[in-house]
Symmetry: C2
Subunit: 435 residues, 2 copies
């Protein structure tokens, strides 16, 4: 019997603020960081890796919270745990003292994501399959047993959840074959559009995106409306009017301001406005959506938990659901959001970028197509070309598609050398930076 012997958590930070990578109207100086969790067992060949994503200060809080979240796992049988990750999740999330600090939001929830991401990685490694395939081989009942449906029954019952999955189960293999034939799952790029980039750099990166086969690009907006107009004009000059252009305000506006500002950008025909206001404001998003149609409304990277998404669906507040793989509490909670999205007819276009999020979301999008939605219509997954070199099994994007992961796990393992060099504040990089 293989037993979990330790859960370690590591503060890994990359100095991305130096190059303005990731700069937007709200987040001007992020240092992309991971609270990186390793689940150790008494077999050195059997480990699980996971993380949550932050942008610098406070990553240590997530690391310590993950350490506390992971403590109850020590001493358990790996086989028993991975056979019933729904029970593991429910036990960890029922810690009422830690629950008080959310509930189910903020640092303690990010830490749940990190720990359970590592448990799902472990489960897929034990099964010797990439995570998307592990999920695609689970029955509807097994998937629903793993899902966190608490507080959702007014929107989605257990029976409805099973029925959604059962409907697509007989044809899963055909959709796997379809994705393999296409070269993977379609994605779009945000790499061009950071607010801190010059017009010249913007134009060059957009042209590169077009040349690489992307049909969707996204630009940051919301700092200065005249700047936005100039940058969107450049974007349309480069990508033309047939390609899709998305814009992202990163929560800088109040609701009336969002409506007015997006109105001034409407001539550039954005496919969606992302994060027009507070990510907590369900009714505010619904008001923006009514006012800016046919421009779509997208949000979710700061969507704190499944209860928020339930309300976004119930209120018809969003056109695109951008759930985050390291903010929601791993597959257990993500399953519930995918199932609700399907019931309410909202396409899921997961948030990615940062560090490692692309590695995770490729599994989610493949699972969605194969097991839940059965369609690619209106669906496109974010891709940002940063920091993949730190991962042992990095995502591969070609011709605007995420290639199907083939290695066992959730693609979450980082190179030991990267963890050592960018460990904060004592790793080689940071020690040198201080000196």
């Amino acid at each position: 019997m293989t037993t979990i012997t330790a859960v370690t958590a590591h503060d890994v930070r990359f100095p991305t603020s130096l190059s303005m990578d990731g700069s937007d109207a709200m987040n001007k100086d992020g240092d992309y960081s991971a609270a990186y969790v390793v689940i150790h067992t008494d077999d050195p060949e059997v480990r699980g890796y996971g993380f949550t994503f932050t942008i610098g200060r406070g990553n240590d809080l997530c690391v310590e919270a993950a350490r506390q979240r992971g403590l109850p796992l020590v001493g358990r049988s790996v086989d028993e745990a991975v056979a019933d990750l729904g029970s593991v999740y429910r036990e960890l999330s029922s810690d009422s003292q830690l629950r008080w600090l959310g509930p189910e939001k903020g640092v303690v929830h990010l830490a749940m994501a990190a720990v359970m991401n590592a448990m799902w990685d472990l489960a897929a490694r034990v099964a010797k399959k990439p995570l998307w395939r592990l999920l695609a081989e689970m029955t509807p009942e097994q998937l629903v047993d793993a899902a966190d449906l608490r507080y959702l029954s007014d929107a989605l019952t257990r029976e409805e959840a099973i029925a959604i999955l059962a409907e697509k189960a007989p044809t899963r293999a055909a959709r796997i074959a379809d994705l393999e034939a296409r070269g993977g799952y379609p994605c779009y790029t945000t790499s061009a559009g950071w607010l801190g980039y010059s017009d010249e750099k913007l134009r060059r990166l957009l042209q590169e995106a077009v040349d690489e086969g992307y049909r969707h690009v996204k630009l940051k907006v919301g700092s200065d409306v005249e700047d936005d107009i100039r940058r969107l004009r450049i974007a349309r000059e480069v990508i033309g009017w047939d390609a899709n252009l998305m814009i992202d305000a990163n929560q800088v506006w109040d609701v009336p301001e969002a409506i007015e500002w997006v109105g001034r950008l409407a001539e550039f025909r954005p496919m969606w406005i992302e994060e027009p206001t507070s990510p907590d404001d369900v009714l505010g998003h619904a008001a923006v959506r009514r006012a800016v149609a046919p421009i779509g409304v997208a949000t979710g990277e700061h969507g704190m938990n499944r209860v928020l998404f339930k309300q976004m669906f119930q209120a018809e507040a969003i056109d695109y659901c951008q759930l985050d793989s390291a903010r929601l509490a791993s597959i257990n909670e993500i399953l519930a959001v995918y199932l609700m999205a399907q019931k309410f007819g909202v396409p899921v276009c997961p948030h990615a970028g940062g560090v490692g999020l692309c590695e995770l979301v490729q599994h989610l999008s493949i699972f969605d197509y194969v097991c839940v939605s059965g369609t690619l219509e209106n669906r496109v997954t974010e891709f940002v070309d940063h920091l993949h070199e730190h991962f042992v099994d990095p995502c591969i994007v070609e011709n605007g598609h995420y290639a199907m992961p083939s290695q066992p796990g959730y693609s979450a393992e980082m190179h030991e050398a990267s963890v050592a060099r960018f460990a904060f504040p004592t790793g080689g990089y940071w020690a040198e930076a201080v000196a």
Copy 2:
């Protein structure tokens, strides 16, 4: 010039789980705790004290987050800071790296509450006034400058906020005199109704509450419906049918379950059902409210920020707003919630109990009556008789009223001996408990 020299944060935990004080259907074993902040200056007579409240594990996360939140204050002039706490608040809350961990929720927001509570305590001490009086002597414009109105303009504009305060400004003195004549602000007690208490203890404590002059008592429900029926029957036998009985489910139900369960308890005519479901579920509370009327719906102790309360008001989801003085980011955010509540006609009955929350909310309720609502109708503030002995200026409750605080500050200072003895894990109490 007095200067802030340090912001220290302390992990203080009381072993309340041993006596089942505070036990409810969700939180069975809380150890009431404070992440306790002290703002030190170069004048040993000038300090500020504040805290956020937790129930044990993870309090260390709030302590560390408060330390990080407070760092930018070091080196500032006390006089300049306390003269413009709105600017101080906005600067601290604009740290985009820490913001990522919320935004404005969970551990980093609890830490903001602790730090800004200490700053408001400092401001009141510098002014040599209890906080309620400091607030009651600020002009409408000064109060609105301190308030965090971001993301609220679709519900409350700055002009509306000023008008609400201006309407009541000329008659503030009369209401202060009125409260003094009444013996303070009316409160209710939860001390009797914890779920872990026996029927005999419940009956005895309820009788004591009646004897002490309370007209409102609250019982925990939601673990077993037959138990609830038996306990509510006991409650009505003791308090009669003229007194007000509230019930509190501490978030244990899904929405349909809440509606059904409350229906079974309706014969006991509760004034409100508190926390029937997830505290994040605005639309769920609205659905429960429509279904259980005329029983009122109350929530707020886990209300994460002003954007959540805005939606609770917009959706007509609650009859009573139970904002929390240590979860919302201090007076700056609390002001915004009081002003919205007034505009939408929802009475505010603040959550209290835990450790030190009663000390804080007495100031809030007095301020509300004097400056915002101008009425006591449907308003009653929670009181729980635990742990007051650890405070230098504890609240005084007599005949069902909080007496008006008279000492300078926000009543948040703890005895040094209490902090030392209950410091976790190295203080005397915990060191003995381990040994």
